[in-house]
Symmetry: C2
Subunit: 194 residues, 2 copies
DNA sequence: AATTTGACATACCGTTGGTATGTACACGCT
DNA sequence: AGCGTGTACATACCAACGGTATGTCAAATT
């Protein structure tokens, strides 16, 4: 089985995603032309539009989805490595900050994402991949009485925004202690909620 | 004096800024063409490039600067209306959240800004207009012993990011209590630092 | 009055994202 | 095995876009 047809299809789609991810990450969505992109991928525009009906933004959406999923998986894995709910929260937050060191995450997910797809669509993707985990963890901590009873949705949004900004800041600075500084500041804020 | 020459110059520049601010706010930077823009402003591309050497991004930069300054002024005014440093912080934060209800602020400053100008330049503008005030207020509170001694720079970044995200969320929701919910969540976080 | 300078308008250009058409080949069917 | 069909692209093309070079006319300067 497998089919040489479907196999080829998957290959071109994969290389298209991989190449565009690299280019978008290094120079930003707007600065990358389709001509350059398809040439780097070794295909033509015909192939691109065959795989991504919506053209450039559709391709970007697919790339962003991949980035989002990867980040979500890393964060979830870090959290699940801990047993105590509070430690899970801290581990997840820290893993996110580390993951956002990757330029692809920074530029594609945090900078271009909202501008290209619009904030609401970006928000929906973020919600599906990582924000939901955060809200979940917070809800569990509230239920366990670890942090004060309060609506978790707004709190999750605030924390998510704080971490996004922190991640961008981390990527730009050359201070080697920056990660620790931000992490401890974040943990101090979280700890204050107990 | 005044000069009919300089007066005319100021007029066209002003209408160009005003019109582009409106268009960028309603449909986003990428979706607005220069042709449409200059037609709506009643001038030609020649005029635009005469006033904004860098073309479209330069025009956007000028618009964004205006938005940033306005927000900064509103926030500063709200803070100065209070006397107690802690109340100043809360008032400033609340004023920011309210100010970001304006679609121009949301779309131009929070969504398109970082993508069009790059995050570092956006960050510099933000720092100059509002983030510096926040860091200042926090430093004062630390010095006064109201909140625990800690590096204020990372804390200010986290809070700034949290508020930016909260502002975007506020603008999108139709829940009338959203502003109060977010504000109280933010104040709870801030209060936990005391 | 003559000349220069500033504030635009007009005309044009290269590039871009997007599309319509062409083509070769794997695959199901008889 | 042969044949038609649909898939997976490649090629050629287009309209629109941001940007620029040049022209024009009135205000300022001398």
């Amino acid at each position: 089985m497998a089919g040489v047809r479907a196999e080829q299809r998957e290959r071109t789609r994969a290389v298209l995603l991989e190449v565009s991810r690299r280019l978008f990450a290094s120079r930003g969505y707007a600065a990358v032309g389709l001509a350059e992109l398809v040439q780097a991928a070794g295909v033509t525009k015909g192939a691109l539009y065959h795989h991504f009906e919506g053209g450039k933004v559709d391709l970007f959406r697919a790339v962003l989805t991949g980035v989002h999923e990867k980040v979500g998986a890393v964060v979830a894995a870090a959290a699940e490595a801990e047993t105590d709910p509070w430690d899970q929260l801290l581990a997840g937050c820290r893993a996110f900050l580390v993951a956002a060191t990757d330029p692809a995450v920074r530029r594609i997910m945090l900078v271009d994402g909202p501008a290209v797809l619009g904030w609401s669509e970006w928000r929906a993707m973020d919600e599906a991949q990582s924000a939901s985990h955060l809200a979940e963890a917070l809800a569990m901590l509230v239920a366990a009485g670890v942090i004060a009873a309060q609506p978790v949705a707004p709190l999750a949004r605030l924390l998510s925004g704080a971490m996004n900004e922190a991640a961008l800041w981390l990527a730009e600075t050359d201070d080697p202690n920056a990660l620790d500084d931000v992490t401890s500041a974040l943990f101090r804020m979280l700890g204050a909620l107990r």
